[in-house]
Symmetry: none
DNA sequence: GATGAATGAGCTTTCATTCAT
DNA sequence: GATGAATGAAAGCTCATTCAT
C-alpha cells in the first residue's frame, strides 16, 4: 500500500466520523480503525488530531476552488457564469453531503481560529476575484465584495443545508428560481 | 443566592465557555468554576452536559422569537415590517456575539440531532408564519416558504458573521443596501 | 478516608515504584493501584506526574532537615555535633533505603532542573549554615563551605550507597573510622 | 561511511540526548536523527535501547580506566600518583560534562541492575587494586578498600558536580586544598 | 439544596521495535 | 548493510458524573 493510499484513507475516515459524530466524538482510534491503519500511523502523516482536521479543511477548500473555477469561461456573459457557479456549488454539496457538513461544522467551530485571517482569505481568493470584477464592470451592485460574497454564499449554503436536511426536496425549477432570487438581489438595478 | 440565579449563572458560564473553546473543550468543572457553583450543583438543574447545552439552545431561540416579533405590527406594510425584522436580527446578534457564535456552532454540530425535526421547526414557527403569509398575499415570490426563509436567514447570518469576524465593518448605509439586496431578491417581481 | 491519607498513599506508592523501576517505568496507573486510589484522583493532588515527583523530593528534603537538625545542640563541641549529624545521616538512609535511592535518582536526573538553583539551595540551607559557622569559628578548614559540604555529603552518600548495595557490610567501628576519615580531612589542620 | 563511524555516531547521539533529556525522554527516533542514520540501523549495532545504553556505560568505563591509569608510574611516591589520579579525574569530567552526567544518571538508575555485581566490580578493578596496594603497604588507613574507594570517589564526584553545576567555580588552589582534604582523611595517621 | 472529592472509562499521543524493500 | 513506514501496546491525562457529607 502506497503512502498516498494511507493518507487518503485517513482523510476519508476522519471526514466520515466527524460528520457522523462531531469532532469530539471521533477518537483517533476509530479513525485508525476506519482507515485500516494503526493508530500510530496517523501521526506519521499528521502531527496531531487538530492538524489532521485542519489539513482536511485545506484539502476541501482547494478541491472546491478547482471544481468551481476550472471550467469558468471569462468570455461568457457574467450572469451565465454565475449561474453555473451557483449550480456547481449546489450540485457538488448535495452530492457530497459529508464534505458540506464537515465544512459547516469546521468554520463554525473554534478550529477556524487555527488559521490567520489572511490564510482564510487566501482560500476564498478565487471567489473574491470572481465577484469583485463583476462589481467593477458594473454588472453587480456597487457594494463591498465582502458583503456581496457573504450574502451569496450564506444563502446558497442555507439552501444546500435545507436540501440535505431532508426536510424539503428542492426541484430543478425551484433551484432556478432560487438562483433568480439571488441574482435579482445582487445585480446592479 | 436564589435558584434562578444559579441556573442563569450556569447558562451564562456555559455559553461563554463554548464560544471561547467549543463544546469539547468546555468541561463541566470549568462551567462550575465560572458560574461560582459546585460541579454537582449543575446536575440539580440539568440531567447532563448535553441537556444543558440543548436547554441553552431552547432558551436562546425563545428569547430571539420574543425579540423579533414582540413589536411586529401586522397592520403595517410588509416591506417595512420585514426591514425591521432584518435590522433587529442584525442588531441583536452583532451586539450579542456570544449568542450568535453559540447558535451557529450548535446548529452545525451533531447536537441538533438531539431534537426531532418537528421540535426544531417549532422554534422557527413565528418566522415561518411571518414569511408564509407574505407569500400568500403575493408580496413575496411564489416559492416554498422554506426555501425563502433559508435564503433570507442564510444571507442575514452570513452578514452578521462578516461583521463579527472583524474582517469588515458594515456601515449603516451598507446595511440598508444589504437589506435591499435581500428584498429585491425575495419580493414578487 | 481523609485527604491526608490519600495524598500520603500516593506519595508512598510513587516512591516505592520509582525506586523499584525508575521514573519512566512507573506509570501513573500503577501508582494509583498501589495507592488504592483511582488514576484520576492523583490529579486532584498533583497537576502532573512531574509535579508529583518534584513534590516527593521537596517532602523528603524537608523531612531530612527536620531529622538532622531538630536535636542539634549548638552549645556542644562541633566535632561531636558533626559526628551526630554524620551518624544520623548514615542511619536514616540505611534504614530508609527507598528514600535514599529516590533522592539519588532524582538529583542525578533532568528532573532537578525543574527547580531553580535558588530553590535547591534553600533545601540545603540548614546544612550550609551548620558548616559555614564551623569554618568561621576556625574549627574547619578555611575553604569555601560549598566545597566542603560537597565533599562531606559526597563521601557520606557514597558510604551509604556501599552499605545499601549489599556489596559490603559496614560495621559500627568501620563507620566510626569512616567518620574520622571525613573529620581528619575537613578539620582545620 | 564506515560501520565504525555509524556506531560512534549513535553512541554520541544517545549520550547527548540522555544528558539533555534523560533516558525516558530520549526516543530512538531522535537518536537516529541526531546520528544521521535510519532508526532501523541502530538495531544492527544494538539489540535494544537498553543494550545501547549499557554499551555506552561500558565504553565510558573502559575509556576512563585508560585515562586514569595509562601513565601511572608505580615507582613514584603514592601520594603523588594519587594526586595525579585525583586531578585527572577532576579534569576529565569537568572538560567532558556529558560523560559525567550520563555516568551519574546511569549508576543511580535501575539500569545498573542490568549488570551483575561482579560485572560492575570488574570495571572498577584498576582503581580497587590501586587503593588496595596502598593500604597493604601501609600508606593508607587500615580500612576496607571498598569503604575508602567509596569515600574518595564520592567526594571527588561531588566536587566535580559542584563545578559542573556552575554554582561555584573551583580555583586551582582550591582544587589542591580539596585534594588535601581527601588525602588527610585517607592517609594512615 | 449544595458541595467537591473521587471515580474510571476513554481520550490523544508516544515510541521501541520490525520488516519489506 | 541500510532504510523509514508501519505497528500497537501503553503511557499521561481529562472530564462527565456520582454520592457521602
Amino acid at each position: 500500500m502506497k503512502e498516498f493510499d494511507k493518507k487518503e484513507a485517513i482523510f476519508n475516515a476522519m471526514l466520515e466520523l466527524i460528520v457522523k459524530h462531531g469532532f469530539h466524538a471521533s477518537p483517533m482510534s476509530d479513525v485508525a480503525k476506519h482507515a485500516n491503519v494503526a493508530a500510530g500511523t496517523i501521526y506519521h502523516y499528521f502531527k496531531s488530531k487538530d492538524e489532521l482536521i485542519c489539513a482536511l479543511y485545506v484539502r476541501h477548500k482547494e478541491q472546491m476552488n478547482e471544481i468551481l473555477f476550472k471550467n469558468d469561461d471569462p468570455s461568457r456573459l457574467f450572469k451565465d457564469r454565475f449561474r453555473i457557479f451557483y449550480l456547481l456549488l449546489f450540485n457538488h454539496y448535495t452530492k457530497n453531503k459529508n464534505e458540506f457538513i464537515f465544512l459547516e461544522q469546521f468554520i463554525n467551530s473554534p478550529f477556524v481560529n487555527t488559521f490567520s485571517r489572511a490564510d482564510l482569505q487566501k482560500f476564498d481568493q478565487p471567489t473574491y476575484d470572481f465577484i469583485r470584477k463583476a462589481i467593477f464592470t458594473q454588472v453587480l451592485r456597487d457594494i463591498s465584495p465582502k458583503i456581496l460574497i457573504s450574502m451569496i454564499m450564506g444563502s446558497a449554503h442555507a439552501l444546500i443545508k435545507l436540501q440535505l436536511s431532508g426536510e424539503y426536496n428542492i426541484s430543478l425549477s425551484e433551484l432556478e428560481t432560487a438562483f433568480l432570487v439571488c441574482w435579482d438581489g445582487i445585480k446592479r438595478p
